[in-house]
């Protein structure tokens, strides 16, 4: 009853109409949120690996075959004479079957490294286009789990970024079904950074990166960085070192690179999928960690003066500046398909004689591999096969191995690098090891 209040009129709204309008408003709100979220996610380059098609290396181009590898097999250790269990002469020439497993539907279960997922997905689709009755299912569960599931024999194909650990390999070899380790794609780790004031590409070497990730090089204008980058406008700002928070094959390769290239600045015991980081004790405020390659890329993008390491594919998708990294020959290399294939080819001479031998030294040797044109932070990802499969599956697996090492190498997922010719030939030789049983 003050004048103001007494003028108030109230409406007894019909119940239905009020419910209707609430529904409409609620719906509109939900829609708004969904649209907003959609726009947001689409604007995130990390949101999906297929948003921006990445220039994939022209698969038809013959990989640069270094002159150092005239024969496919080179004995890695002089004391051990390689005795190939089977010596097929020209496995690639075997006739391509047109129908597999008599047309019966066969489902192949594969599981392991997240890095391999887009590539395996592409291969599974292409393979199905060729053989309508073959389904290959890939679960992206991580390398460690991929090795574990393979040893438990609950999958048909395992997938892992690092090769089987010595302990796992010993277990696999004891099993009557045996194991074949097969490098199928090349992965590379790029050093990304957020320094908009620096024109051109930053040049870094393993020692400097190691010292940054130790927390010992604190600022961008440190003389050690400046020495490699004469003329670059390096800011007087603290370096934020970004890394993976989750255990990751990417971290494994990166820390392996630091160990091999830093002349003692990075210890062997700090190499791993989830190592301990010295910067946490020295200067935690200058460290950050993100989940997955996307998480690291996102933090680097949002954090001025940061440095990080991400898979080559992800760095391209996120359009982050990538550093040139000094290789074993002392040259600063851009991460490109060519330099990565050169590194892979350079490591081939360290391959073991048999596919169930320890691949770890070969895998380590592709990191910081020799060769003028090698990109130094390169590695392989492996598929794990058994030697013995049930009848139909054996036939399918054999054809799958043949196919991924021939035609399959020309259907790479965006950003993935095919393996060089000599490694394909090496892989093809093991088809004959696979038996029915």
């Amino acid at each position: 009853m003050s004048k103001r209040e007494s003028k108030k009129t109230y409406f007894l709204r019909a119940k239905m109409s009020s419910i209707d309008s609430r529904l409409i408003l609620g719906g509109a709100l939900v829609l708004l949120v969904l649209i907003g979220a959609g726009i947001f996610l689409l604007s995130q380059p990390g949101g999906s690996t297929t948003t921006t098609p990445v220039r994939s290396p022209t698969p038809t181009a013959t990989p640069t075959a270094p002159a150092t590898t005239p024969t496919p097999i080179i004995t890695p250790t002089p004391g051990l004479t390689p005795t190939p269990t089977a010596a097929p002469t020209t496995p690639a020439a075997s006739p391509t079957p047109t129908v597999l497993a008599g047309g019966r539907e066969v489902k192949i279960l594969a599981a392991g490294a997240t890095f391999l997922f887009p590539q395996m997905d592409t291969w599974a689709k292409e393979f199905r286009n060729k053989y309508r009755n073959i389904i290959i299912e890939y679960s992206s569960i991580g390398s460690g789990a991929g090795q574990a599931r393979f040893l438990e024999k609950v999958v048909d194909i395992g997938a892992t970024d690092p090769p089987l650990t010595p302990a796992n390999l010993a277990r696999a070899k004891q099993d009557p079904r045996g194991v074949i380790q097969m490098p199928v794609v090349i992965g590379a780790v790029t050093i990304v950074y957020n320094l908009p004031m620096v024109e051109g590409k930053l040049k870094l070497d393993g020692r400097i990166i190691a010292l940054i990730y130790r927390g010992e090089i604190e600022k961008w204008n440190d003389p050690r960085i400046a020495a490699l980058n004469p003329g670059a406008k390096l800011p007087d700002a603290p370096i934020v070192a970004v890394r993976r928070s989750d255990a990751s094959g990417t971290t494994n390769i990166f820390t392996m690179f630091l160990f091999k290239s830093s002349e003692g600045a990075w210890e062997r015991e700090r190499v791993g999928v989830q190592p301990s980081w010295p910067i946490d004790q020295v200067a935690p405020a200058r460290a950050r960690a993100g989940r997955g390659n996307e998480g690291v890329a996102e933090i680097v993008r949002n954090t001025l003066y940061s440095i990080g390491y991400v898979e080559y594919t992800q760095a391209q998708v996120a359009r982050l500046a990538m550093a040139q990294v000094k290789n074993a020959a002392g040259r600063f290399m851009d991460p490109t398909p060519e330099t990565m294939m050169a590194a892979a080819a350079g490591a081939f001479r360290f391959f073991p004689a048999n596919p169930d031998d320890d691949f770890n030294s070969a895998w380590e040797s592709v990191v910081f591999a020799p060769g003028e044109n090698s990109y130094p932070i390169t590695s392989f990802s492996f598929l794990l096969f058994y030697k013995v499969y049930p009848k139909d599956k054996a036939e399918v697996i054999k054809e799958f191995i043949r196919w991924i090492n021939t035609e399959g190498q020309s259907v790479m997922a965006p950003g993935y690098i095919p393996i060089p010719e000599e490694i394909r030939r090496y892989n093809l030789r093991w088809i004959e090891l696979i038996r029915e049983g």
Binding site: M1, S2, Y10, L12
Partner: protein, 252 residues
Amino acid sequence: MSYAIEMENLRVSIFEKEILKGINLKVPEGTITALMGPSGSGKTTLLRVVNRLIDLIEGVKVSGTVKVFGKSIMDMDVYDVRRMSSMVFQMPNPFPHMSIYDNVVIGARINGVIKSKKEMDELAKWALEKAMLWDEVKGRLKDPPWRLSGGQQQRLCLARALALKPRLLLLDEPTANIDPVNTLKIEEALRNIRKEEGITIFMVTHMPQQAIRLADYTVMMYDGKVVEGGPTEEIAINPKHEVTKRFLRGEV
């Protein structure tokens, strides 16, 4: 004679339903005036107009003039209107999270009129004495109010209302939920308050006997209208209106 409450053509409707249909009423100052009538006749609504608690009801429209102690309350700040009177409700409603003492002095404390602890204690004692509760609670003023019986709680509410030192006390069927012994105590307290403090009491009651025992004047309401009003004896002995007769016989 001056009037505590004057109403002229007061109409109240809630969501277009008319509750009070043109009330004309004057309550003389310093008296106890009872408002009687069957359920749904609009007594409680009428009472809530006086301190504008009616503003809280959604969809309410009020027209006409209402004056309290000569001031038209429609034009006043609502908080000032409410401070002119205080109210006791049908259900005992002391604040459950406060002690007995705090319940009594809450009004004074919030208004900030009284500052010193001593004055506050005196106020609490005075109000509780007036409400005839002091002897029962003096040893346990820090107790929570729900330790008291329903009748004691209602007297606590009366004390809370009195502690505001109002000129007008509004009571909404204060004894409807109270046992006979407590009812008589409250009635005695009200008589004393009127006599000793000169506070005008305007109370809604459902019980004709209570009006006869207590009130100087009685107003009879039916269906949103005042049907009859005057000195209580007149109405009790010689009701003019049919509704009043039936109400006194306990038929409505």
